[in-house]
């Protein structure tokens, strides 16, 4: 069985990876949606709507590829379970 210390390591890793994903998503959606001329300080209506949709689509793609990757990489999934079970 996993000790408390091991469970906490896995939990910390999940937070770290969520935060890495969030940083990448923000960068990607900024690049897709925000004009770089900066003529005004407000988000335009178009930019705001684009950001909303970009976040939704990013999370969808991230999740879909995660499922695909988990199905494929049995080895890595086994490694994952190995960690989780101890």
């Amino acid at each position: 069985m996993a000790t408390d210390a091991q469970m906490q390591q896995v939990a910390e890793l999940e937070v770290e990876m969520m935060s890495d994903m969030y940083r990448r998503m923000t960068n990607a959606c900024q690049a897709k949606c925000i004009a770089t001329a900066f003529k005004e300080s407000e988000l335009t209506k178009g930019e705001a709507v684009c950001l909303d949709r970009c976040v939704a689509k990013y999370l969808d793609v991230h999740e879909k590829l995660g499922k695909r990757l988990t199905n494929m990489s049995q080895g890595d999934e086994a490694a994952l379970q190995k960690i989780a079970q101890q």
Binding site: Y22, T26, F38, K39, S41, E42, E47, L51
Partner: protein, 78 residues
């Protein structure tokens, strides 16, 4: 107490500051005929900072809503 948590929050704040300054410089300063920032560049950089903060706030809200919906769908109070 200057806890680990506080230090990490401060580090995140400073990293964001460095990031936005780099991005706004790169987007707004393209003229190197002098060593002083001109009015147009400064206005651009200020707008860039303001917009960056509004962007990160909006992305954060949408992300939290998504997390909340996921947690509800899983029947958990995560």
């Amino acid at each position: 107490m200057a806890s680990e948590q506080n230090i990490q929050t401060f580090r995140d704040f400073l990293t964001q500051y460095n990031l936005v300054a780099e991005q706004c410089f790169t987007s707004c300063v393209n003229e190197f005929g002098s060593r002083t920032v001109n009015a147009k560049e400064e206005s651009c950089a200020n707008n860039c900072l303001d917009k960056f903060l509004k962007m990160t706030q909006r992305v954060s809200q949408r992300f939290q809503e998504h997390q909340l919906l996921n947690a509800q769908a899983n029947g958990a109070a995560m």
